[in-house]
Symmetry: C2
Subunit: 197 residues, 2 copies
């Protein structure tokens, strides 16, 4: 699961060090605020106050840096999902992460980047499969306790929930909200049945 280190014939900095993390912090901020077009080694260096050359001491290529950034981000998100799964209202807490914690802009940038970067695509696949596994697990447990809650399978419900959450956050960010209330009410009604509070 950890990164695989060096491709280039070049001295490389330690993975996980403070500077390494600071660079990913800078990269994340740039991607969030300015988008993929501005995600360059120069801009990252400028952001954290070092020289551009140093970026290539810690990361073999820009694609590696981007992949590493997604990995760090997705591991944090998976940890949130796992914690929510262990709580006493797992469905509500997982939904809360999907609809509130998720940054629609960041996700859309990564999805587009994954079209081009194969390593990143593999990381995205891993994240989708693992997060779905957690969600299906939580849903199956809930449906067992409240069997009349729905006719759909846990797997189907997980896909519907994540899809809808992504659409709502994305549309909200660009200023579309028609039908959002209705679909939120639908989700709320399901949660009330499947996980009575």
């Amino acid at each position: 699961m950890a990164s695989v280190q060096p491709k280039p014939d070049r001295r490389m900095g330690p993975v996980g060090s403070d500077t390494w993390n600071a660079m990913l912090d800078g990269a994340e901020a740039v991607l969030r605020d300015e988008g993929h077009a501005a995600l360059t080694s120069r801009r990252i260096a400028e952001r954290i106050g070092v020289k551009q050359r140093l970026v290539y001491y810690y990361f073999a290529t820009m694609d590696d840096l981007i992949t590493e950034l997604f990995r760090r981000l997705s591991e944090r998100e998976l940890e949130r999902f796992r914690a929510a799964r262990r709580s006493d209202r797992p469905l509500r807490e997982i939904w809360d992460i999907c609809i509130h914690t998720t940054d629609a802009r960041l996700i859309s940038e990564f999805i587009a980047l994954a079209n081009r970067i194969e390593e990143l695509s593999a990381e995205v696949v891993h994240f989708i499969e693992e997060s779905r596994r957690i969600q299906v697990d939580a849903l199956e447990a809930a449906l067992k306790r409240a069997p009349a809650a729905n006719h759909a399978s846990a797997a189907a419900l997980a896909i519907v929930a994540t899809s809808v959450a992504l659409t709502l956050t994305r549309e909200q960010k660009i200023g579309v909200d028609s039908g959002h209330d209705d679909v939120m009410a639908l989700i709320e009604a399901f949660l009330a049945r499947a996980e009575p509070s």
Copy 2:
């Protein structure tokens, strides 16, 4: 709805001409095959066999070209939706467009680009609102004829359907398919109730 023409102090080519369309064809092919990073005036020119300078005769800026490309594409898609709406199985035909016609890669590239290009963002908003209007309209008519089909509103169903279609096509393209059968069965069951064949 038509494009608004010139910003620059420069001679410009006719909107809608053969060369103009050929350039958008080239741009679409580049975006589909290589992604937004490769979508440059030089690459487009190379693709259709003209010189780079000519791209700036037909389009004021690259951002304009990209926006115009999305506009052309979305108008075609809306026309498909309208035709499906007029058919005798509107729900099934609209769903068929969502799940088959849509190019997941192209859409993700445009969404990422819209984060940066304001004109494009406005076009995306327009497309979402108009396509949703058509879908809600079709769903309302169907639910009127088969009231017991579902407890959810037409607006909620439209969002769920488009969200799920986008997720399925995107995941399929990167090689994830867990739960897809289940959710397709769910959609099929709904269609069987709301639009019996």
